[in-house]
Amino acid sequence: AQTVTQSQPEMSVQEAETVTLSCTYDTSESDYYLFWYKQPPSRQMILVIRQEAYKQQNATENRFSVNFQKAAKSFSLKISDSQLGDAAMYFCAFNGGSQGNLIFGKGTKLSVKP
């Protein structure tokens, strides 16, 4: 069974600095998709970034980028130039190519200090 592990329950970053959130996963599939979701205090889940496993190039969305290491089954999220609005829970999620269900990690709570 696929699993997603986020080993950092909480992280903190100074405004304008860079922070990296860790995520590892376990799967026997070769074709799959990985996601990072943001859940601010409003609790609305927002898709931050998506990575296709067959693409070696790391996905980037403005200040958000990932470091995808397929062999190590690692998918970390880097937030550059952190802003106060980045404070939220961040969830890593896995979607196997053969199934539609998203499997989520337990989340990392990110605080941003002014």
């Binding site: 609305q44 889940m45 296709e52 969830f91 989520f104």
Partner: protein
Amino acid sequence: SQTIHQWPATLVQPVGSPLSLECTVEGTSNPNLYWYRQAAGRGLQLLFYSVGIGQISSEVPQNLSASRPQDRQFILSSKKLLLSDSGFYLCALERTINYGYTFGSGTRLTVV
């Protein structure tokens, strides 16, 4: 564009009472729909998913049930709530296969 509506936003119910949470979608037809529960300090747990009218798959045996009476409507129900049913419930729409989900705004359920 695809939108998803979920209500109510907050609900306080006594133990043993029934439950009905509704989720409706717009801007798409025949979507895959999901119900997740998020307990305090934990990740999202998949409860049910549906690939079409009347088609429900349950991931976790429990006190809850789901129904899909119409293509764009997904309902989460319980005949008798338990204290352990408290949590934050999220409905999700699969935008396109393998492109992630769009989530509703969620329902915070407190069973007292």
